[in-house]
């Protein structure tokens, strides 16, 4: 089954069901949220150096409103998983993700976090999407800063197109919902 088709139908119906005021609020919240991403850099390996390069003045990530790394997951809304996640780190990463407040997004930074890279061995998690939902995958070993900025712009597009509400009473995170759907289909 093509996931993209399913997602399109769902979003279209949701858009139709929203009233005018609701859609204005949703767009406003999306605009505000996509330009004030507070990142939590979960840096475990050499990609952390590239993260510093993106955050430094040459490729200034603050031009995209994501300049302020929060060193507590409770204050962040973008989890950047930077580097290799081995199986011993996996429960910690899962817990960090669960400590973040909604709305939250996840970027897999580099091939090790995205797919395990060339560490196809007994110790390394083969992609963080085995445990947490991922919004944007950034390839590269390590990725160039331009790749990271491309990924950040992709994420901003995604956030701008999502449905945002002032008070979320149902499951708010569409990426997590899709992730749970995929996990249940695999079982």
């Amino acid at each position: 089954m093509a996931d993209a088709d399913l997602a399109n139908i769902v979003t279209t119906r949701r858009d139709e069901s929203m009233g005018w005021l609701q859609s204005i609020v949703s767009k406003g919240l999306g605009w505000a949220r996509k330009y004030s991403l507070f990142t939590y850099p979960y840096a475990t390996a050499c990609c952390g150096m590239e993260y510093m390069s993106v955050a430094a003045s040459r490729h200034d990530i603050s031009r995209f409103g994501a300049e302020f790394p929060r060193f507590s997951p409770r204050q962040a809304d973008l989890l950047m998983v930077v580097g290799t996640i081995n199986l011993k780190q996996a429960p910690i990463l899962k817990r960090v993700y669960e400590q973040m407040a909604e709305p939250k997004w996840v970027v897999a930074f580099g091939v090790c976090a995205s797919s395990g890279g060339f560490y196809d061995n007994y110790a390394v998690l083969q992609g963080i999407d085995r445990i947490i939902p991922v919004d944007v995958y950034i390839p590269g070993c390590p990725p160039r800063p331009e790749q990271v900025l491309d990924g950040l712009m992709l994420l901003q597009d995604k956030i701008g197109n999502q449905v945002h509400r002032i008070a979320d009473r149902e499951e708010a995170n569409p990426t997590a919902a899709r992730h749970n759907l995929l996990l249940s289909m695999n079982k």
């Binding site: 996931d3 031009r63 797919s115 390839p139 070993c141 800063p145 900025l149």
Partner: protein
């Protein structure tokens, strides 16, 4: 024994309040601030070569795309022959050496009856050539391992980020791009008739790229492999399609 009275110049009231030096420091900061705010900004993508009054080093990325350095290992490409097919002969060298095991090849065989014996100079071709770019660690070993110069990383573009992992699986239609390449050591160039090689080359495998033959574009006469090309002409520069437009690729292994 009593201490002597200090001769420290900071006993001066002017020095002890630090006011002049404070103002001097503020002046330096303000000078840089106004210089960066009102100074003309050079938009040279090579930041170290910038010569403007403004000292800002930030590259406004989506608008100013820096030129990647020579030898940058970017997105893979399968090098086409002059007839548009990939040069790859499905020898599995790249898939074997790849440390991330991200290359998957399925080989097909040219049939004997399909072409006469003179044309049949290569035996295999890839029916599938798939690279998982999300596994690739851009080490370039596939480029080094390839005996046919069939895979290169000279596109000077990075792999774009995506929303899903499936989008990173690059197959032949996505990989086959760029300028076609021909070498005098190619078997379809070597075997015109059976008399003698129609080119002069020594140590073709170590000095690959020397005496490149003239390239034919794929939209012209479709010379299948086995058709000889005029030798001797030097195709010096080959353009590779990139994000920033064509970039002259001048160097190959010499």
């Amino acid at each position: 024994m009593a201490y002597k009275v200090s001769k420290d110049p900071r006993t001066d009231i002017r020095e002890r309040t630090y006011v002049p030096n404070l103002l001097r420091g503020l002046g330096i900061t303000a000078k840089h601030f106004f210089r960066n705010l009102f100074g003309t900004r050079d938009t040279n993508t090579q930041v170290v070569d910038r010569t403007g009054a403004s000292l800002m080093t930030t590259v406004a990325y989506p608008e100013e795309k820096p030129i990647y350095p020579e030898g940058y290992r970017g997105l893979h490409r399968l090098v086409p022959r002059e007839d548009g097919k990939p040069r790859c002969v499905a020898c599995y060298m790249c898939a074997t050496i790849c440390p991330a095991q991200c290359i998957y090849i399925e080989a097909g065989e040219y049939e004997d009856e399909a072409s006469d014996s003179e044309d049949r100079v290569i035996e295999k071709y890839p029916t599938q050539f798939v690279i998982d770019e999300l596994r690739c660690i851009v080490c370039g070993l596939c480029v080094d391992a390839c005996p046919k110069d069939a895979i290169r990383m000279d596109t000077y573009t990075h792999t774009p980020p995506e929303y899903t992992r499936q989008n990173f699986v690059y197959d032949i239609p996505k990989l086959l791009k760029g300028a076609p390449v021909s070498h005098p050591s190619d078997p379809w160039n070597k075997r015109e008739g059976s008399e003698e090689p129609h080119h002069v080359h020594k140590e073709a495998h170590t000095r690959i790229g020397e005496g490149l033959v003239e390239l034919k574009l794929p939209h012209g006469e479709h010379g299948g492999h086995g058709k000889a090309l005029p030798a001797g002409a030097h195709a010096g520069h080959q353009a590779v399609v990139t994000q920033q437009g064509p970039i002259q690729v001048t160097k190959f292994i010499k």
